[in-house]
Symmetry: C2
């Protein structure tokens, strides 16, 4: 068996792995980047890039336009970016690209199986695991493989489904349900969850559900897909005791969660601690084995491309500048869902708020876009800014936005939370009129109106509950 040593090895050429490999290479560090499938990982090939292209084209689609042309354009753009990234990664100085599948043979040792089955032994001073995740599969009795789609096969479609059953109610499920519905496909959404986008606050579901309804997307919650009858093309949905036959379903999209790609890594051979939530890491991506890092979907941190990138940047910092103190808070990871309207959040989860603050210390503020001038001109019916703040101080704990441009608006709050800027400061700012961001001023106004006239009471409450736990 051939063997070779590199200063640094990165396993997985997805978004996170590329951040680490290219980041290190640009700093003059020698890196080997190992990838079993396509350069670009999920994001370029089966995730953000094709899905956002589809969403963008679907928004402009009108009945009568060719759906086939839309799907072909999605595939073309995906392929073009993949080729460009594959070419680029091979040109980067200090970076060796290795096509193959890696597994640990020891703490800092890997066996890499190439496309021809040849195995080489690699060792390194640092190894970064960035192998990502894959769609969780589900068996639906009677459903043949050629009718079953996941995000990994969806973007190779050349013709639209007539009736698409989407199994799941999470981000991928909802983004694609909206997009295909706009392209004229009949869409039915079936989820075990009790509501759409179940990991977001309830208010989000309450805003997105009427938008699904308005588009004629039929939804079944607390429901499973029991079986499929090929002769009648009927998908049988069960909810409690009731059964619903869905007719003429020609494709079924599975979007029921993700499985971390760690089962074939032989983590045990390296002694890398992990559990059902993935590889255990600190906020700098360090695993239980010194010199071994993990980022992105294999870790318990938020499963977004931008999170993997942010973790990757911190790993580069640790490897390239190890003398820098590993300090500073974990970055804030915003979320964004490109439904219509969009959903974006940043800050503490309800559980984290409950752990940190007495309920009486938290004030919830909400402005609905339909009560703003821009919401009026643009006919926005469902959408809002929801902010949890500490009473009296106006310190922001968490923000949820549902609206046409939520994914861009959220960064204002990421900046504010990370710099501990309170609502008092928002009150002083001027927001262009008429924008959705003008709603931020309304939030600040409400806070001031509720707080200023009763400062003594607010101060007393603050002092009472601030130190209550």
């Amino acid at each position: 068996m051939n063997s070779k040593h590199y200063s640094n090895i990165v396993i997985g050429a997805g978004s996170g792995g590329m951040t680490v490999a290219i980041g290190l290479a640009n700093l003059g560090k020698q890196v080997a980047l190992i990838e079993a499938h396509h350069v670009g990982g999920d994001c370029t090939n089966v995730g953000c890039v094709p899905s956002k292209t589809l969403i963008h084209l679907a928004a402009d689609y009108r009945p009568g336009d060719s759906v086939e042309a839309v799907l072909a354009e999605v595939t073309r753009k995906r392929d073009a970016l993949r080729e460009k990234e594959t070419e680029e990664v091979k040109q980067i100085e200090n970076l060796t690209f290795i096509q193959g599948k890696a597994a640990f043979a020891g703490p800092k040792q890997l066996h890499v199986t190439g496309p021809n089955g040849d195995v080489q032994a690699l060792s390194a001073d640092t190894i970064t695991i960035a192998t990502g995740a894959r769609p969780r599969m589900l068996d639906i009795p009677g459903l043949s493989a050629n009718r079953l789609l996941t995000n990994e096969s969806l973007f190779d479609l050349t013709a639209p489904p007539r009736h698409l059953a989407v199994i799941g109610a999470g981000i991928i499920a909802v983004e694609l349900a909206f997009a295909f519905s706009k392209l004229g496909t009949q869409v039915t959404l079936i989820a075990l969850d009790p509501r759409v986008l179940p990991t977001y606050p309830l208010e989000v579901s309450e805003a997105i559900q009427p938008e699904l309804d308005r588009r004629g997307i039929v939804t079944y919650y607390n429901a499973t897909s029991d079986s499929y009858d090929e002769t009648t093309q009927t998908l049988c949905v069960r909810s409690g005791e009731e059964k619903f036959p869905l007719e003429s379903v020609d494709k079924v999209l599975l979007a029921v969660g993700r499985v971390r790609n760690i089962d074939q890594l032989n983590l045990e051979k390296a002694g890398i601690a992990h559990d059902k939530n993935g590889i255990r890491v600190d906020s700098f991506g360090r695993t239980s084995v010194p010199g071994v890092y993990a980022i992105g979907d294999v870790t318990p941190t938020s499963a977004f491309t931008h999170s993997a990138n942010a973790q990757g940047r911190r790993v580069v910092q640790r490897i390239a500048f190890p003398w820098l103190p590993a300090r500073g808070p974990e970055p804030l990871f915003p979320t964004a869902t490109f439904s219509d309207p969009e959903v974006a959040t940043v800050g503490l989860s309800p559980k984290q708020i409950a752990e940190k603050c007495h309920p009486e210390l938290v004030r919830r503020l909400r402005i609905d876009f339909k009560d703003t001038d821009r919401g009026y001109t643009d006919g926005v019916e469902n959408g809002f800014i929801l902010v949890d703040v500490v009473r009296l101080t106006g310190t922001i704990l968490s923000v949820t936005i549902v609206g046409p441009r939520a994914s861009e608006m959220i960064s204002f709050f990421t900046l504010a939370i990370s710099r501990r800027i309170s609502l008092y400061q928002f009150y002083r700012l001027v927001y262009p009129y008429p924008t959705f961001s003008s709603g931020i001023l309304k939030i600040a106004d409400t806070f001031m109106r509720e707080t200023l006239p009763s400062l003594p009471r607010e101060l007393a409450a603050y002092l009472k509950y601030r130190f209550a736990r």
Copy 2:
């Protein structure tokens, strides 16, 4: 003549005047609000509200849809909001609404002429002037009044022009040129200015011009509209020595600037200082006469609804809480133009930067959206974030954004500049992927890459030029 005294009088029920009147009334202060025309002023009646409704509907318009229905919906929404605001303003406690035209009779005295011609004498402890501005008119020989439009008559159109000549290249001209072009109207833009959106940096014109071209909007710069021939419906455009006959022009939209509504106020009788730039005010809206304030378009400050509102809020503060120190910097006034793509700016003007900083102290950073993943998925060809920062420190001086969601993205920078947050902080933040805001991280990356490896040189340059003037 009837006479009456009020604690506070506000002249003009536009966006700024309403902010002051309602703000004071809600704080329990007695206010009289005088309006000569419609409640809501320009914004509700002939500005932002109908124009943004039109822009929104035009974006969704497809050939074959009824343009008449679009225009009717714009008028309907405008009228509905006007009625609602008119009704609401009459219900507000502590607020007296007076229909009439006000002129000064003394420092704190007004004569108000009602709709029937009856005149009453009003006096007040404080008077706020918020009479706004009107379109500058231009005489085009041969052009009849029924072919001439301004923003004041445009939103009453019931049928689209066949060929609309837009005179001007500023914000109103460009927003409406894009909107009517999308509705199928042939649009020609004629401006004395050398380029489109001439008050913005040159880079903005370079990005917007190809978008005008792409839509077939023909543009003439350094050009005037000489005459109109009614029999052939030909508008004669002259540029230098050359003449261009524009055929089949059925409507001409004048958007060549605004005239402040101060000429009929008898400001001299009150001794209120003013010049060609409007009524002189400090950053709290105080005029040369104690107790008399002025806000919005009558002042030299930026002529946006949000600016008038912000000034109004400060006037409310001065009147309601006079013991509060009148301190604090003038707020940052962002700009937003709802062209396609949008344009937004915030921060110092090039002139202000030149006054404040040695040129060697300023570093210009630019990221084009076409080089970002979201720009790629959405096919954005012209658009960018342009940031001027102080070298070494990364303190932001000014920001210009051209892009599909620029008007929402700009508030991130308003917050950053007002809190003196530098690019180093931007580098630590996580931006949702794939958003246009991800470009902010690229800006920060570029700055870090250019600054960190040459810190001693950057520090030397900073110290040399920081105190150079």
